[in-house]
């Protein structure tokens, strides 16, 4: 052991480079693993506390995409009557309607009920919070997500104009400007990219529209609009919370077989899983790249070990003269490699912790991914560290074996 430590110290320049290479590659691999895990976790918790999402008959992933991620268009609406049927279902505790279709400078306008801000959960049951202002109280009030506020530099009280449809160059609802009533706290979910208005407001600003174009002559003021009671006719999706979780399958089946209108009810967790499955290619590619870096690190170590074989020939012959067996020679070489990789993996782990510590505030605000910092590796990470170490030790058997074979041929003398 002392021999190995001294020997490594003697070759500390090459040894340290080797340790550093392994450390960096290990840090990268574990980092990617960690990020992958956290990203997946975050993704799967984009919506929580919602038992079912209901929309017109479509593929679950499509329904998920437009209702949660505000991507793509709903193919069909659902009627207000259907919504009221859902609310009336004995198992339903609450149901929040959504109406999509308009946009503001690239961000989706989401018509919803005030309940949304209280009921919606993300992550591990986290509630939405306002960084400024409050939920809408007037008809033409709007609440905006953190990203919208940041990118467009909006403050509470600002007035904004909503575009009809999702392409901003199209017609504007400029006769009815909205006032920013509240700005939501950052969540790291699609909530940050939404512009929220009440369902009534959606109805109100579309009063004089037919098939996407404005009919002339709507000069009513906000006060006049407020006086009118707008009842939504059609909405796009509904988020449902149940009184008892086990009833979810029953309610889902009931909604899927609803006869008055073809509906699709999905469990957000299941649909998110499906969607993540589609994205797993990227995830796997990232992991493969990190694994390649580890392989490069190990090959580097191998080349260092092989390069020292020649200069250590005399040393090995000496050890044999002193009474070391060929297995001892093998052991010294393997032991040194094991120490190198051991230092490398431990250092890699520490590097990762340092990097995470430094990057955590940045990553969590930019990506909304919460990276957890911990001192001890998780069991899975221990597994990774251990397997890297074992793989390194097994490939180090080759130089060790070469050294042993040479020392058998050389005996106690080295012919130079």
């Amino acid at each position: 052991m002392t021999l190995m430590l001294h020997s490594l110290w003697n070759r500390r320049a090459a040894g340290m480079l080797c340790v550093l290479t392994i450390a960096l590659s290990v840090a990268l691999l574990l980092g990617v693993e960690r990020l992958r895990g956290e990203a997946r976790q975050n993704f799967l918790q984009t919506v929580s506390g919602v038992d079912l999402i209901v929309g017109a008959r479509s593929h679950p992933v499509q329904l998920l995409l437009y209702s949660v991620f505000h991507l793509g268009e709903p193919t069909q609406d659902i009627s207000w009557q259907s919504y009221q049927r859902i609310v009336a279902h004995p198992q339903v505790a609450w149901a929040i309607p959504f109406s999509l279709g308009d946009s503001h400078r690239g961000y989706r306008v989401v018509g919803t009920a005030k309940d949304y801000f209280q009921r919606f959960r993300y992550g591990q049951g986290k509630e939405l919070a306002f960084q400024n202002g409050q939920a809408f109280s007037n008809l033409l009030d709007t609440v905006i997500g953190a990203e919208v506020a940041e990118r467009l530099e909006y403050r509470v009280g600002e007035s904004i104009i909503v575009s009809h449809g999702t392409v901003s160059a199209m017609a504007q609802h400029d006769e009815h400007p909205f006032r920013v009533a509240g700005i939501l706290e950052r969540t790291g979910t699609p909530v940050d990219r939404g512009v929220y208005v009440s369902l009534e407001a959606i109805e109100a600003i579309h009063q004089n529209w037919r098939s996407g174009t404005r009919l002339p002559g709507d000069g009513r003021s906000e006060a006049q609009l407020e006086a009118e009671r707008f009842v939504p006719v059609r909405i796009t999706s509904v988020m449902v919370g149940l009184k008892a979780k086990p009833a979810v399958f029953m309610v889902q089946r009931a909604l899927n077989t609803y006869t008055a209108e073809p509906l699709t009810a999905i469990m957000p967790g299941v649909a998110l899983q499906q969607l993540w499955g589609l994205l797993s290619m990227v995830e796997r590619a990232l992991f493969a790249a990190a694994a390649c870096v580890v392989a490069v690190g190990l090959i580097g170590m191998m080349s260092v070990l092989l390069a020292t074989l020649n200069e250590r020939r005399r040393e090995m012959a000496l050890l044999r003269a002193i009474g070391a067996t060929r297995l001892d020679v093998f052991g010294v070489m393997l032991g040194e490699a094991a120490l190198l990789v051991g230092f490398g993996t431990v250092l890699g782990w520490l590097l990762l912790q340092m990097a995470l510590g430094l990057a955590e505030p940045m990553v969590s605000s930019a990506l909304g991914v919460q990276l957890s910092w911990q001192l001890l590796p998780t069991r899975v990470e221990c597994g990774w560290l251990g397997s890297i170490w074992l793989i390194a030790c097994s490939i180090a058997c080759l130089p060790a074996w070469l050294a042993m074979r040479r020392s058998v041929a050389d005996g106690i003398t080295v012919r130079t």
Binding site: L3, L318, A321, I322, D328, I412, T413
Partner: protein
Amino acid sequence: MAPAISVRDARFAWPGQDELIAIGALEIRRTERVALYGPSGCGKSTLLNLLAGVHQPQQGSIRIAGAEISALSPSARDRLRGDHIGVVFQQLNLIPYLGALENVILPCRYSRLRSIRATALATSVRAAATELLGRLGLEPDFWRKPAMTLSVGQQQRVAVARALIGAPDLLLADEPTSALDPESRDRFMTLLFSEATRCGAAVVLVSHDPEVTRRFPRQIAFSELMVRGTPS
């Protein structure tokens, strides 16, 4: 007591080559001093490997401290060597990055017998090593320094200390003085003899320097050792 080494009709050839070693009989008693001399390239290093029990003869017998080496497994032969033989080479005898003292102690890490004997002679292995280094004239300042920083003369003395720690039965020396100047050579030989006597080891030295070999009571020419033709 069995002789330190006894060789009978030993023949050795590298695979696919002519016979290199053919020794009719050679016996080296305990505490005997024997010088072997001969031109270079006559199979000297092969002979050393045979006497040290690294290689084994294709025919005949070699016994080290009474043990027949061909009857032993490779690792048992290695242990036998560690237990009974100390080796001093021409140069580069030491593990360069270890201190002088660590180098001297090294054989006791591989051989339990040597470790036990060293502890019996002094109070501990370390004490035995410092005693040896002291007697061989290496100042304590140098004990902890890496071997590669020592002069050649110092290195050779450390090598003798390492070869003799734990009182082995045989000291094998391969041209140990060829890197030394005449004055240090003579002092070195005197020290080597007195330490070998002290621990009761036989000395087998290979050299082509008559100034060194003439100090030995028994001198054997390499050519005399070899027999040609079929073994008796």
